[in-house]
C-alpha cells in the first residue's frame, strides 16, 4: 500500500502518450512470454510505514541488548559521541554516490582525503586507501599485493583472528597461492605469541609475506619490530593487522617496520551492529610499485584550472573500471560512509581524547585481569603483555560464566575453550561490573 513514487495517474498517462504506449505492461514487450509474470511471487502485500516499523521492531526485540559488553574478538563496543551520529547522518553524505564527478563532490572527496591522512598518521604510513570492506578483506587484499611470480606462499601464525585466516584462504585459494597457517604444533606460536626463531626457520625464497596481528587474537602484544626485522632479512614482506584503537598508545606499524598496515577501523565510531558494516583500512609506503598495487579508491590533492586546491579520485589506472581483467582487485563500492564516520570520530576524540579512550581500555582490562585472578583459582592463559583483551583459564565452565554474566546484563568474554574465555574491556565498562564478574571467579 506504500511506495516511494511521486507521480499522479494523469502524469503517467501523459508519459504513456509521449512514448506511444497505453499501459506499463507494453514496456516489457521484449521479455519472452514463457518467463514473464511467473507465479509464485511469494512476498506479502505492501504495508504502511507504521506497520513496517512495528514489524521490524519486533525482530529487534527478539535480540538481547546487553547493558555491558566484555566481548571483543573483532567487534569492539566503544562510546560514540553524539556529534558523530548527527553529522554523519546528513543526507548529502548518506545519499551520495562514489565521487566520480569531482566538481560537485568536493565535500566527499575532502573527507576521504582527511580519512587517508588520519589512517596514515595512526599507522605511521605514507598512503592509505579510501577503505575496503572489513579487516579480513583488507588482510586478503594486502596478501595478494605481496605475491610475486615466484613468491607465492603466505605465512600466517595461528594466533590471528580465525575469520581473517578463513577469508584470506577464500580469497587466494584459486590463484595458485599457498596460505600456510603455523601454530603451536610447529613451534611457530609459543605462549600465545609468534616465536621469532621459528619464524626465521619457516621463511624461504618462496615466501611472499607474513601476516600477523597486533595485538593478536588473544590480545597479546607481539614483538612486532623483531618480526618485521626477521621477515625482511629473508626478503619477504610484512603485513601487520592492527586494532587501530591500540595505535593511540602503541608503536605504529610504520615505526615497527611493517610494509603494509591493515585492520578494521570499526572501533572508531561504528556500531557493533551484528557484524557490519565495518571498515577495512589499508596503508603502506609510497614507493611507486607498492602504491600502484594497492586496491580501492585513493583520493589525491590537485589544482583546478584557476589554481585552487581541490581533490579527485586518483591513480584510477589501478582499478577495474579502467583495467577490467587486468585490475589487481575488483573492488568498486567500499565502506566510504564508514570511513566518514571514522574520521569524524577521530576528529571528535582528537589527539588527547583518543589516548584517553585507549588508556581507559587498557587500564580497565588490566584491573579486570588482576581482579579475576586475585584468588588464584582463575589464571591468565598467557603471561605476555596485552592491551585490552586477554584469555582466562578457570575451573568453572566457560559457558556457565557466560550464563551467569548474562543474568547480570553483562555479555561475558567469548568462550574459546571449555574453560577458556577471551575477554575485552572498553571505556564503556564500569568498574562495578568488573567487580561483579570477579566475584564469580573468586
Amino acid at each position: 500500500m506504500s511506495n516511494y513514487l511521486s507521480i499522479t495517474q494523469k502524469e503517467t498517462e501523459e508519459m504513456f502518450d509521449a512514448i506511444g504506449i497505453s499501459k506499463c505492461a507494453d514496456l516489457y514487450a521484449d521479455i519472452p512470454l514463457s518467463i514473464k509474470n511467473k507465479p509464485p511471487f511469494n512476498i506479502e502485500k505492501g504495508k504502511s510505514h507504521q506497520q513496517v516499523m512495528d514489524e521490524m521492531a519486533a525482530y529487534a526485540e527478539e535480540n538481547t541488548v546487553f547493558k555491558t559488553i566484555m566481548r571483543g574478538a573483532g567487534a569492539y563496543d566503544h562510546y560514540i559521541p553524539s556529534v558523530v551520529k548527527y553529522l554523519s547522518s546528513r543526507s548529502e553524505f548518506l545519499t551520495a554516490y562514489t565521487p566520480y564527478q569531482a566538481e560537485l563532490s568536493q565535500g566527499i572527496l575532502q573527507s576521504i582525503f582527511e580519512f587517508q591522512t588520519m589512517i596514515c598518521s595512526l599507522t605511521g604510513m605514507e598512503v592509505a586507501n579510501a577503505s575496503v570492506y572489513d579487516g579480513s578483506s583488507a588482510a586478503a587484499e594486502a596478501a595478494f599485493m605481496c605475491v610475486e611470480k615466484d613468491r607465492r606462499v603466505i605465512l600466517v601464525p595461528s594466533n590471528v583472528k580465525p575469520q581473517v585466516v578463513q577469508t584470506i584462504n577464500t580469497y587466494l585459494r584459486r590463484r595458485n597461492i599457498t596460505v600456510k597457517v603455523l601454530g603451536e604444533e610447529e613451534g611457530f606460536v609459543k605462549n600465545g605469541k609468534v616465536d621469532i626463531a621459528a619464524l626465521e626457520r619457516a621463511l624461504n625464497d618462496e615466501t611472499a609475506c607474513v601476516y600477523f596481528e597486533q595485538p593478536n587474537y588473544f590480545g597479546l602484544i607481539e614483538d612486532a619490530e623483531h618480526i618485521c626485522e626477521a621477515v625482511h632479512s629473508k626478503g619477504c614482506k610484512v603485513i601487520m593487522g592492527c586494532n587501530p584503537m591500540t595505535l593511540a598508545l602503541l608503536k605504529s606499524p610504520g615505526e615497527c617496520g611493517a610494509d603494509i598496515a591493515v585492520g578494521d577501523a570499526q572501533p572508531f565510531g561504528l556500531n557493533i551492529a551484528f557484524g557490519g558494516p565495518y571498515l577495512g583500512f589499508m596503508a603502506t609506503h609510497t614507493d611507486k610499485e607498492t602504491m600502484r598495487r594497492m586496491p580501492g579508491r585513493i583520493v589525491g590533492e590537485t589544482k583546478d584550472d584557476k589554481g585552487r586546491r581541490c581533490f579527485v579520485l586518483t591513480l584510477q589506472g589501478r582499478e577495474q573500471h579502467i583495467r577490467r581483467e587486468k585490475a589487481l582487485s575488483n573492488i568498486c563500492s567500499n565502506q566510504a560512509h564508514c570511513a566518514l564516520v571514522a574520521s569524524m570520530y577521530l576528529a571528535a576524540m582528537g589527539k588527547q581524547g583518543l589516548r584517553d579512550v585507549a588508556l581507559s581500555c587498557t587500564s580497565l582490562a588490566h584491573y579486570a585481569a588482576q581482579e579475576f585472578t586475585k584468588k588464584g583459582k582463575t589464571t591468565l592463559k598467557f603471561n605476555g603483555e596485552y592491551f585490552h583483551e586477554f584469555v582466562t583459564v578457570s575451573p568453572l565452565k566457560a559457558t556457565k560464566i557466560v550464563e551467569k554474566c548474562a543474568k547480570m546484563g553483562i555479555l561475558a568474554g567469548l568462550p574459546i575453550g571449555k574453560n577458556e574465555i577471551l575477554w575485552c574491556f572498553t571505556e564503556k565498562v564500569r568498574k562495578e561490573d568488573i567487580d561483579r564478574v570477579a566475584a564469580l571467579f573468586n
Partner: protein, 481 residues
C-alpha cells in the same frame, strides 16, 4: 575549504569520556609510540567543518541523480531509523545465537524474499558489495564445477560481453578464471555466433547483465541459456540492473544459476558516498552446499541456527556481511510488498522511456526499441560537429543542479566512444524529468551556439575541472602541514 587539520588548535577538545575509575596502566617505553598527530578541535568547529563539507556534496536528496547503472533512487528515512534501533545496532556479532534470534530471523526472511524475487533456491548475505558478490558467485561456480566434473575439470574460462561492467572481468580473474570477451551484435546484445564460437568444454560460465548495460532486455536470453548450458557451463546474473524487472521476470526463470544483487541499488539502501553496499548472492539448488560459511537455517520449532554448508567455499568477510544494510533492505521490501516492487520497476522503465522519447530526436539513442530502466545516448555526432564531448555536456549539467549521467560507459572503442548513460529511477517525478529534458535540449543547442561555454563548464561550482593528470603524476594523498 579548510581541511580539518587546518582548523586544529593545540589543546582543544571535543568529545570526552568518563574519568578513569581504576588506576591508569602504564606500558613499558619500548611499546609506546612517539607521537600521534590528530586534529584538535572544539565541537562547534567540528560541526561547522562537516556541515561545510556536506554543502559541497551532492546526494539523492540534493537533486536529480540519473547515474546510469547505479540506480540512485530515493532512500527512505524510515529505514534509517529502523536500522538504528538498539536491538540491531547494539548487538555483538559473536553473541550466543539464543540471544540474537531476531537478527537471524531477519536475515533468514530477507534471504527468502530475495530468493523469491530472483527465482533462486539459496542465498548468502555475506558479500559486502556488488563486486564482492560477483567474486563470491564465481567461487561458488568454481567449487560446483570441480565437484561435478571431478579433478579433471578444465573449465577455467569465464565469458564476459564487451559491454559488461568492469567488475565482471576483474572478479573473474580474482576467482582464478581466464576472461574471454564476447562481442556484441548490432543491438549491443550478445552476438550469438560469437558466443557459439567461444563456448566449449573449457567454459565455466557466462556473466550477463539483463537488462544489458545498454539498458535493453536481452531478447535472446533463452537461446543464450541453451548455448551455455548445452556446453556444460553456468549462467551468472549480474544484478546491477534488476531494478528494471523486479517482480516482472526472475533471473532464475531466464535460466540463470547464480545471481548477485545490489541492495544499495535495487533495494533503496543509501550509497553513502561509495558504500557500504551489500551484494547478496543467490543460487540454484545444486550450488547451495557451496555457499559461504555460515548459512542460517530454521528448525521446526522456529529457532534459527548458523550452519556451515557441507562444501562451503568458506568466509568472504569477517562476520555475516553488512547487517545494517540488510535491515534497511528488508524494511523496503516490506513497505513496497509484491505489488509495490513491481510498480517501482515499471515506473523506473517508464521514466527512462519518457526521457528517451523526448530526447532521441536530437541525441543519438543507441536503439529505437523501448529501453528498460536506463538508456544510452551517443554524443559522437555532436562531438564531430561541435567539438563538445559527452564530458562537456555532463559538466554543464552540474551547473543546472543535477548530477551528470554515467560517462563513457559502456565503451566499445570505435563503436561507442561518447556515451552518456541515463537512469532516472522510479522515484523521480515528471516535473524533474521535464526539467532535465529541457536542460539537455538546451545544452545540445548551446553546443552549436557557444561550444566553449560547455568546454569550460562547470561555471557555478566552488571549483572548475580538476587537473587529474597532475594528481596522478605527483600523488599527494595525505595532508602535510
Amino acid at each position: 575549504m579548510k581541511l580539518i587539520f587546518e582548523r586544529s588548535r593545540e589543546g582543544l577538545r571535543c568529545a570526552t569520556i568518563r574519568p578513569l575509575e581504576v588506576s591508569p596502566y602504564e606500558f613499558e617505553k619500548s611499546y609506546v609510540r612517539k607521537d600521534l598527530d590528530l586534529p584538535e578541535v572544539a565541537e562547534v568547529d567540528l560541526a561547522r567543518h562537516y556541515t561545510e563539507l556536506s554543502h559541497n556534496a551532492f546526494g539523492v536528496d540534493s537533486g536529480f541523480y540519473p547515474l546510469g547503472s547505479c540506480t540512485m533512487k530515493y532512500n527512505p528515512k524510515l529505514n534509517e531509523e529502523i536500522a538504528a534501533l538498539p536491538g540491531f545496532a547494539k548487538v555483538h556479532p559473536l553473541q550466543e545465537p539464543s540471544t540474537v534470534q531476531g537478527n537471524m530471523h531477519l536475515m533468514y526472511d530477507l534471504a527468502v524474499s530475495l530468493m523469491e524475487l530472483t527465482g533462486m533456491d539459496g542465498m548468502t548475505l555475506q558479500p559486502c558489495a556488488g563486486a564482492h558478490g560477483e567474486f563470491t558467485g564465481l567461487l561458488l561456480i568454481a567449487a560446483y564445477l570441480e565437484a561435478r566434473d571431478g579433478k579433471k575439470c578444465k573449465r577455467n574460462k569465464v565469458l564476459v560481453p564487451d559491454t559488461a561492467h568492469g567488475t565482471n572481468p576483474a572478479s573473474a580473474v580474482m576467482a582464478g578464471f581466464e576472461v574471454i570477451n564476447v562481442k556484441s551484435n548490432a543491438e549491443k546484445g550478445v552476438d550469438l555466433d560469437d558466443l557459439r564460437a567461444k563456448v566449449g568444454p573449457d567454459t565455466a560460465a557466462l556473466m550477463l547483465t539483463n537488462p544489458t548495460t545498454l539498458g535493453l532486455f536481452e531478447k535472446n536470453i533463452l537461446e543464450i541459456e541453451k548455448i551455455v548450458h548445452d556446453a556444460g557451463g553456468l549462467l551468472y546474473y549480474d544484478g546491477a540492473n534488476l531494478n528494471a524487472i523486479m517482480g516482472v521476470v526472475r533471473p532464475g526463470d531466464m535460466g540463470f544459476d547464480v545471481v548477485h544483487l545490489n541492495l544499495h541499488k535495487t533495494f533503496s539502501t543509501p550509497h553513502g558516498g561509495g558504500g557500504p553496499g551489500s551484494g547478496p548472492v543467490g543460487c540454484k539448488q545444486q550450488l547451495v552446499e557451496f555457499l559461504p560459511d555460515p548459512s542460517i537455517i530454521a528448525d521446526k520449532k522456529g529457532r534459527f541456527h548458523f550452519v556451515r554448508p557441507k562444501h562451503s567455499i568458506g568466509k568472504v568477510s569477517t562476520f555475516y556481511g553488512n547487517f545494517s544494510v540488510m535491515v534497511k533492505a528488508l524494511a523496503y521490501i516490506k513497505t513496497l510488498g509484491r505489488d509495490g516492487l513491481k510498480e517501482s520497476a515499471e515506473h523506473a522503465v517508464l521514466n527512462a522511456n519518457y526521457m528517451k522519447a523526448r530526447l532521441q530526436d536530437i541525441y543519438t539513442a543507441e536503439t529505437n526499441r523501448l529501453c528498460m530502466h536506463e538508456f544510452v545516448i551517443d554524443l559522437q555526432k555532436l562531438k564531430n560537429e561541435t567539438g563538445v564531448s559527452a564530458k562537456d555536456v555532463a559538466k554543464a549539467m552540474i551547473d543546472r543542479g543535477m548530477h551528470p549521467p554515467t560517462m563513457y560507459f559502456p565503451h566499445i572503442p570505435g563503436v561507442i566512444d561518447e556515451a552518456l548513460m541515463i537512469e532516472p529511477t522510479e522515484t523521480e517525478n515528471k516535473q524533474t524529468l521535464d526539467e532535465a529534458i529541457a536542460v539537455l535540449r538546451e545544452l545540445h543547442d548551446m553546443a552549436y551556439s557557444d561550444p566553449q561555454y560547455l568546454k569550460d563548464a562547470p561555471h557555478n561550482m566552488p571549483i572548475s575541472r580538476p587537473d587529474e593528470v597532475l594528481a596522478a603524476r605527483q600523488p599527494i594523498v595525505k595532508y602535510k602541514a
